[in-house]
């Protein structure tokens, strides 16, 4: 919808949205839950990035979580109790998020935490929660999180690449790979894993580059890619850097001949990159909104019905919160409660079916479907589904 119309509707919508948020907040923070015969509702904290660099994903995450809670309650709740969501901003500094978490656990007495945020916050929250309640971490991340009490649903680099790289290499005859990412642990871990898969698929790495978050001009990197003769670029840039790089890449005319594969390119990033610049841009992820599986079609229909056609765009990160709550439901029902000890006993082995297919927990990570989508033309079209991909983690 055009922005002009949006703006004029925007302020009245603001009022409506405000009201909606206000009501959710009030409902969330007071004892007034949906009246039922069962015991008091069980509170579940959901950490959502409302501010900061990932604030972009806040609305879709909130919506997905809210939808999940309503559907779970309609099915009878978790272990017989209705659930009530309490949201907290996870886009603040880790110290501030920990402050919120401490309040949630000690004062609001939440029984579980579902977190959709970056790794620094995760480490801080895990350090603070210390197995008082189950802590479910949902978004794609760098792998290696084995702290006790943390259950990770997010895709690991191995998951995203182990099957995708050989398949794509084969299909597009990819031989020379250039690795470019932001300078922190997720891109570095991803690239370390990628090198192995590339070699196995018969390719070579012709360049590797890490950029700090402040960089906004990518011309030098693009020159390097040209000079290296690469036919593929593995992109582990995040957020604005991903958009900026991909736009410049295409404007320099590289998109026709060089394939791009990204492991964190979701619908918003694609919109930022623009249809004209998305030629041969592939993305590997556990979820795409345009996936036309039956389960996803149902999910997106429910989402639109609940939140309207121009609600926040569904994407892998936002949707992960939905799956986080589904997992909570599955494990909680198996355990008979959300008490930590009981939950922990049954976590490994719990499985459920979500919008992106079957998911099963092993080593406190999940085996799940991985999709490879092509972004040419400005929307993702899923080209391949890899079922039941192992996470590659070995946490006990």
């Amino acid at each position: 919808m055009s922005d002009f119309i949006k703006i004029s509707k925007g302020f009245s919508k603001l009022g409506r949205r405000y009201l909606f948020v206000g009501m959710t907040a009030i409902a969330g923070t007071t004892m007034i839950g949906t009246p039922l015969l069962a015991a008091d509702p069980v509170k579940v904290a959901v950490l959502v990035p409302d501010s900061g660099a990932a604030g972009l994903f806040g609305p879709s995450t909130r919506n997905a979580a809210t939808l999940a809670a309503e559907q779970i309650n309609a099915r009878g709740g978790i272990a017989g109790s209705q659930i009530e969501l309490v949201f907290a901003d996870a886009g603040l500094s880790p110290a501030d998020v920990v402050g919120s978490v401490v309040r949630l656990v000690r004062q609001d007495k939440v029984s579980a935490i579902v977190g959709m945020h970056d790794s620094a916050v995760r480490v801080a929250v895990a350090n603070a929660v210390r197995q008082q309640v189950p802590y479910i971490y949902t978004p794609v991340y760098e792998g290696g999180e084995c702290a006790a009490g943390v259950y990770v649903l997010g895709e690991t680099p191995q998951q995203q690449l182990a099957t995708v790289i050989p398949w794509l290499s084969n299909k597009k005859d990819l031989k020379k790979w250039y690795l470019i990412g932001n300078d922190y642990n997720w891109p570095r871990n991803t690239n370390d894993q990628a090198k192995g898969y590339i070699a196995k698929a018969g390719g070579t790495v012709v360049g590797e580059e890490y950029l700090s978050f402040d960089v906004s001009n990518f011309d030098a990197s693009i020159r390097n890619i040209q000079a290296s003769g690469a036919d593929t670029v593995l992109i582990t840039l995040v957020g604005g850097a991903s958009v900026g790089f991909n736009v410049a890449f295409a404007q320099f005319g590289l998109a026709d001949d060089v394939v791009r594969l990204g492991t964190l390119i979701e619908e918003n990033t694609l919109a930022g990159i623009g249809a004209a610049n998305a030629m041969n841009l592939y993305s590997s992820s556990g979820y795409f909104a345009s996936n036309d599986s039956a389960a996803n079609k149902r999910f997106t229909a429910d989402y639109v019905a609940r939140f309207g056609a121009d609600a926040a765009q569904l994407n892998s990160l936002g949707e992960s919160a939905y799956e986080g709550l589904l997992f909570l439901e599955a494990a909680g029902n198996r355990a008979g409660s959300l008490d930590f000890a009981a939950f922990d006993k049954v976590a490994n082995g719990t499985s459920f079916n979500g919008p992106s297919g079957a998911v099963k927990m092993a080593n406190r990570h999940v085996n799940q479907s991985i999709y490879l989508a092509n972004g040419t033309g400005g929307t993702f079209s899923v080209e391949m589904e890899f079922k039941n991909v192992a996470s590659g983690e070995t946490c006990m």
């Binding site: 110290a95 920990v98 402050g99 480490v123």
Partner: protein, 592 residues
């Protein structure tokens, strides 16, 4: 009798305040639930960092855009030190102190080095601190083998330290109170006063003999030390340090909280940090647009309450209390000054000095002698180079060539604060005094110029010093009888007079007076002229006066020097100059 009562009053007040503080802390411990104590601890930690900003910004006029760098440094270094060493409370405390002191020292060195070349409010220094904090944040992010990179550094657990315990909360409160007390106390010492004076007019302080860059560096170091303390406590509190605590955004937040609370008062730092934190906690999970509300509030405070919230309160309180007036303190004579008499100069020799300002030659190969012990006047039409000559003498306009010798020392190659050692004092054409201090404090600084020694910087004794000459001057200049008045409220003429009195307090041997009667009424002019004459007769100092008023010149001058277009035109007695045809040709003076 009065002295004893004064002292016991003070001790009583302090005891009462301490008791109140202890009671408040105890009350908080019992009333607040655990997690609120935990969160309040975090806010108090931020408040300690803000206290550092208060000192730098509110007292010394240094804008610290990079406080987060020291906060992060404190957190990371403490964490790294703990990692390598045994972790019991005693060792941890030692490591903590070590880390704080090391960081403060580094801050001192950096500031001393950079400020050496800056005079006055230095946006350059502010920008350097900004660049440093961005650099530090980048290093913290990239050097992941040491700092843990993006995910941060996990702090080892120290046995017996639990961030959720009451003991921890009490310790944080205690440290906050100690830092607050230090900040408050140091602000009242001579060092604190000198900071404020330097914030007003740094060159003026330098001419009183103080190496201001070192003083400011001390302030910066203390500020950095506070930030490092806060950082170390933060590491214990969170158990984790991330690069976000070292970057520009966190620096900006600390600045904003300090500004919100009021940067001029130590209580402002604490109020700002706590208020901002409480607002954020209360609003952020309830209202999606909470940042908008906080930002609007912030603009409102900046617009309406420039002194911040603390400033606003204190203004209200002072309005109700009225001016309580200073308690009567017994004045004491300052100790004898230890200036080496041999370095005092009585004459100045200007040798072939050339001064340029851009493409204009202001002083052209000028040579003249300032004779010892006499009053001489320098006259000449506008643009002759008279003030510029003074500027060259005091290092404000370095000559392109030539030398200015005072006694045996070269004047133009030394830093401004050495001039006081030679006994040189200057009064400026537009009076330069310290407007945000009281008259009494202005006089203090002039007295300290000669008498303050290292051990006195932090003592309260120099606040009681008094010289007889002040009483003499008070007979002539009315405003000196109200020493607690803000210097800001003085008229232009009174400021002239204050500056004149101030430089006489330094017992100078060479006085450079630039139009001491500019802007004064005839009556005031006569008072000032008498004062100058009387003082000169008593001290035998060399007086060099730039004047336009010929009546004054004839009254004061034993010798007249005429400058024209940067060159020496004539010199001699007033009578001789009056008759000099050349002088008459180029210069038509006015008579008041």
């Amino acid at each position: 009798m009065m002295m004893i009562r004064g002292n016991s009053n003070k001790t009583l007040k302090m005891a009462a305040k301490s008791l109140v503080c202890v009671l408040v802390v105890l009350a908080l411990v019992y009333v607040l639930p655990t997690f609120q104590k935990y969160q309040l601890s975090q806010l108090l930690i931020y408040a300690i960092a803000c206290l550092g900003i208060h000192l730098c910004w509110g007292r010394a006029g240094i804008l610290p855009l990079g406080q987060a760098a020291f906060f992060g440094a404190g957190a990371y270094s403490f964490g790294l030190l703990l990692k390598g060493n045994a972790s019991d409370i005693f060792t941890a405390s030692l490591l903590f102190l070590f880390s704080v002191i090391a960081i403060a020292l580094v801050a001192f060195l950096i500031a001393a080095m950079i400020l050496r070349r800056q005079v006055g409010p230095s946006p350059q220094f502010a920008i350097i601190t900004l660049a440093l904090t961005i650099l530090f944040g980048q290093i913290a992010l990239s050097w992941s083998s040491v700092t843990g990179g993006f995910n941060g550094l996990l702090i080892p657990v120290i046995s017996g330290v639990d961030p959720f315990s009451d003991a921890f909360f009490v310790v944080i409160c205690g440290v906050t109170l100690v830092c607050y007390t230090i900040a408050r106390w140091v602000g009242g010492t001579p060092l604190g006063r000198l900071w404020m004076a330097a914030a007003d007019d740094e060159l003026r302080v330098q001419l009183f003999g103080f190496a201001t860059h070192l003083l400011k560096a001390i302030c910066f170091a203390i500020g950095a030390g506070f930030a490092a303390i806060a950082g170390g406590l933060f590491a214990l509190h969170q158990g984790l340090v991330t690069p976000q605590n070292s970057g520009f955004v966190f620096s900006a937040e600390l600045l904003i909280w300090t500004a919100l609370g009021g940067r001029k008062h130590p209580s402002g730092a604490i109020i700002g940090a706590i208020l901002a934190g409480v607002l954020s906690l209360a609003l952020r999970d309830k209202i999606i647009w909470w940042e908008l509300i906080v930002a609007s509030l912030f603009i409102l405070v900046v617009l309406k309450f420039p002194g911040g919230i603390a400033g606003g309160f204190l203004t209200l309180i002072s309005r109700y209390k009225g001016n309580s007036g200073n308690q009567e303190v017994q004045p004491i004579r300052p100790p004898a000054d230890e200036v080496d008499k041999a370095t005092l100069a009585r004459e100045i020799t200007v040798q072939k000095v050339t001064v340029d300002a851009g493409p204009v030659r202001i002083i052209d190969n000028l040579s003249l002698d300032i004779k010892p012990g006499v009053t001489q006047c320098i006259i000449g039409p506008n643009g002759a180079g008279k003030t510029s000559l003074f500027n060259a003498m005091t290092g404000m306009m370095p000559p392109r060539s030539g030398d200015i010798i005072a006694g045996t020392k070269s004047l133009n190659t030394v830093p401004a604060w050495h001039l006081q050692r030679f006994g040189v004092q200057r009064k400026f054409q537009t009076p330069r005094i310290f407007v945000s201090l009281t008259i009494r404090e202005n006089l203090w600084i002039a007295m300290w110029s000669k008498h303050l020694q290292r051990r006195d910087y932090l003592s309260h004794a120099p606040l009681k010093w008094h010289l007889d000459i002040i009483d003499d001057a008070a007979q002539i200049f009315d405003f000196l009888r109200y020493p607690d008045m803000q210097a800001e409220e003085l008229s232009a003429g009174e400021r002239q007079q204050l500056e004149l009195v101030m430089i006489h307090l330094c017992a100078p041997t060479i006085l450079l007076l630039d139009e001491p009667c500019a802007g004064l009424s005839p009556r005031e002019t006569a008072m000032v002229a008498d004062f100058i004459l009387t003082q000169q007769k008593q001290s035998g100092a060399t007086c060099v006066i730039i004047e336009h008023d010929m009546a004054l010149v004839s009254k004061l001058a034993a010798r007249v020097i005429v400058l024209h277009r940067g060159k020496l035109l004539a010199e001699g007695t007033w009578q001789a100059i009056q008759k000099n045809a050349e002088v008459r040709a180029v210069y038509a003076g006015g008579i008041k």
